[in-house]
Assembly symmetry: C2
DNA sequence: TACTTAATGTGAAAAAATTCACAAAAACAC
DNA sequence: GTGTTTTTGTGAATTTTTTCACATTAAGTA
């Protein structure tokens, strides 16, 4: 019997994002090129993994010369996003929604929250510069801004309804902070973020004093890796 | 060459959390027992997966009778957490930190943020009921409340320093919202949450209109699964 | 230029995760 | 009580992911 999950983000893609963050950091530190080895250290993966991931996304370096950081970053930006701006909407202006609407890092990465929605649009209006609309204007605004991606930060109970409305309005991708499995048509991708689970899983490991493989020996992380 | 990553949360454990959320929902809907099939539908995985995961955590059902929801939930709570309360601290009271400190779902799951910290403890003091301390009191308070798990919601630049301080104070598990790979001793578990990456990966898929396997056919999700 | 060294890129091998498939047990029917 | 059906639980098979290993290429050196 097949798996029904609409999962999700491939590991290799997740790591590409990770690599990019590392590259930006290394660049800020004044570096101009990296080897798979360097980047692997920074990202906490194996050099083979880095190369394999690059290979999957058809990113090439120079043999012996490693990778030029700027080229890598440009490739990542251009190939994946074509330097576009992305218009996002956010539904649910509770505490979390409000915080997300103010999260400046989204903007730094060209992800632009053009509008937010709430059943009570007056609630947070004073606290944010991004417009807060009532749910009745969802479709209109999504279509006006050609929004394809939305963030759901509403309570569990209303998440599916909001999701359905978003999909009806033309949204094709959702980051869902409500702890429910949203039912969507197959061409709509959902990425779930469950803050409680993140915390609880850490608690579980701490509780069980689980030793994580490959870290038995801290030297591995910092020392000579030959 | 070995992998250096301090990764992380096993898939099966993540799914156990997912199952629990589903079970709570099903219970609220009035159900008393489930079959692996039912739960799988709700959780968006295969029934085999459910049983395999249960098997890994040594959770047993009754042949032909399925699983009693209350028993399952109790097993999950008792075996994993022994109904303990967990004292957490949160470092970084920016927008995100403030939102997390107010996230009521943590409390519902017995995860109790006993204190928060910020370089400027007066900044958010008026806006929250949880005490906000300066960084100088980190160690004292962590030790007083026997805190083992912390949330880092500080800017990237100071994350490693905060992490080091937490570890020195006795913290064994960290949920890290800063987009850096934290370096920790091997007995400290770190779980990274990168909000930008979550959003960007969705954008990537939407952009590429990637069809997710197993969902080509929506009937699979709702229809007869024989 | 030829020789050495150091890094990439990628099939092959190994490991891990998932799905299959079926024996075993429990519920139900008659 | 016997037979039938349904669902669990788990080794085996399969698929996916990661790591290994090495041929290939480029840079440096004399």
């Amino acid at each position: 019997m097949k798996k029904f999950t609409k999962t999700l983000i491939k590991n290799s893609l997740r790591r590409i994002f990770l690599y990019r963050a590392c590259l930006n950091r290394l660049k800020m530190m004044g570096m101009e090129k990296v080897f798979s080895y360097t980047l692997a250290m920074e990202a906490g993966v194996s050099p083979d993994q880095v190369r394999k991931d690059f290979s999957e996304f058809n990113i090439k370096g120079n043999k012996r010369g490693g990778y030029n950081i700027d080229e890598l970053l440009e490739k990542m930006e251009n190939i994946f996003y074509k330097n576009r701006e992305h218009n996002i909407v956010l539904v649910g202006m509770g505490n979390l929604g409000l915080a997300l609407s103010k999260y400046s890092r989204f903007l730094q990465r060209n992800m632009n929250i053009v509008a937010t929605f709430d059943i009570d649009p007056f609630k947070q209006k004073a606290r944010t510069e991004i417009p807060v609309y009532g749910m009745d204007r969802l479709k209109e605004i999504i279509q006006r801004f050609k929004v394809k991606v939305a963030i759901i930060a509403v309570p569990e109970i209303s998440a599916q309804q909001v999701c359905d409305d978003l999909v009806k309005a033309g949204v094709k991708g959702i980051v869902n902070f409500a702890p429910v499995l949203l039912k969507t048509p197959p061409n709509v991708i959902v990425n779930n973020v469950n803050l409680c689970d993140e915390l609880e899983s850490v608690i579980y490991y701490v509780h069980h004093q689980l030793k994580i493989e490959g870290l038995k020996n801290i030297e591995l992380l910092y020392g000579d890796m030959k």
